[in-house]
């Protein structure tokens, strides 16, 4: 997998003090970490604490990370542990319904980081594919993806296209998105993974 291959040199460079390599690692894996934190329903100061702790730990352990390819898994495990520590710590002083809280924790613990990573990579590939679309098609999709939804008549006004062509243009944009190199690369990886 091309992305994993590029991790090792970044880890190696960061180990020897290259701050740019560190920033590149952060850019690549920050969505994984913050996504996991959000899924543990941590927000605000708690979320900031966990995020900061995870990256401090990574700095501490850069030197003994034997397999740089294992970095995403290491980050996911560390993030989950830090989230649970915050959840436990908070529970000591905040009275909550113990049964409700336990059910929530179990549900969160059971979802595996591999699924998170796969979804995260898929999300990144989708965003990359979106970036690769021609401007007009990307603009239309972005308007259609707005939440709350924008009425077709308004989209038609903004883009200067007839209401009747929005649907067909959307279909063509999505078809082009599916064929984009970013998503194709991911599909190849999936095919390889399923053959293993």
């Amino acid at each position: 997998m091309s992305q994993a291959n590029a991790v090792a040199p970044l880890v190696e460079a960061a180990r020897s003090g290259d701050a740019d390599a560190w920033d590149a690692l952060v850019d690549r894996y920050l969505p994984l970490v913050t996504g996991l934190i959000a899924r543990h329903r941590l927000k605000g100061a708690d979320a900031d604490d966990v995020n900061q702790s995870v990256w401090l730990r990574l700095v501490e352990h850069l030197g003994d990370l034997r397999e740089p390819e294992a970095l995403p898994g290491w980050l996911a495990t560390t993030t989950r542990n830090e989230c649970l520590r915050v959840l436990r710590g908070g529970r000591r002083s905040t009275p909550v319904d113990p049964q409700g809280a336990t059910v929530l924790d179990v549900a969160v613990v059971e979802s595996s980081w591999e699924e998170d990573l796969v979804r995260d990579q898929r999300h990144q590939a989708l965003l990359e594919a979106l970036r690769q679309l021609p401007e007009a098609r990307r603009e239309l999709l972005m308007l259609l993806l707005t939440d709350p939804p924008i009425p077709y008549t308004e989209i038609s006004d903004r883009l200067g296209i007839p209401v009747g062509s929005i649907g067909p243009t959307r279909a063509r944009a999505l078809a082009q998105l599916r064929r984009s190199p970013a998503l194709a690369a991911l599909a190849d990886d999936d095919a390889m993974a399923s053959r293993r």
Partner: protein
């Protein structure tokens, strides 16, 4: 085909939402973590934490608030800490004098003396994550980052 398109649109919506979750603040904190890189200091790893352990997950609300007990070990030295409401009592084992500095990305460093028995006390602990940097007879040791409530 239409259903496939709807599924793809919904995935795109999720992707955009997860990107929004990455705030500038979290990116800055992650990048800044690199400035806490140590090079020649010896690392003391966390060997015990009363906050860890699965049983904590099912603690009831009636549980009394108690001190958190933490140990760090390595390089033939251990450090035992008792933390409660921002107050820390610690001991270096085997007992020896020196100094200990609390480091935290969110506040200024605090340094206190370690007495001959290895005891030290910090009255106002900065918020976690924090770590201790110990200077003991010419050796410099750093604990792993301590996270969670102090």
């Amino acid at each position: 085909m239409m259903a496939d398109d709807e599924a793809l649109m919904s995935e795109l919506r999720q992707a955009l939402r997860s990107r929004e979750a990455v705030t500038q603040r979290s990116r800055e904190a992650a990048r800044a973590a690199f400035t806490w890189r140590t090079i020649d200091e010896e690392l003391l790893e966390l060997s015990h934490d009363s906050l860890a352990g699965a049983q904590a997950l099912v603690r009831g609300p009636a549980e009394v608030v108690e001190a958190r007990v933490v140990s760090f070990e390595g390089q033939g030295i251990s450090v035992e800490l008792e933390l409660e409401a921002g107050h820390l009592i610690g001991q270096v084992l085997p007992g020896q004098s020196g100094s200990v500095t609390v480091q935290s990305p969110s506040s200024a460093q605090v340094t206190v003396e370690v007495d001959d028995a290895g005891l030290f006390e910090i009255l106002e602990l900065p918020p976690a994550p924090l770590r201790l940097r110990l200077e003991l007879g010419g050796r410099v040791l750093t604990t792993a980052w301590l996270t969670g409530p102090p």
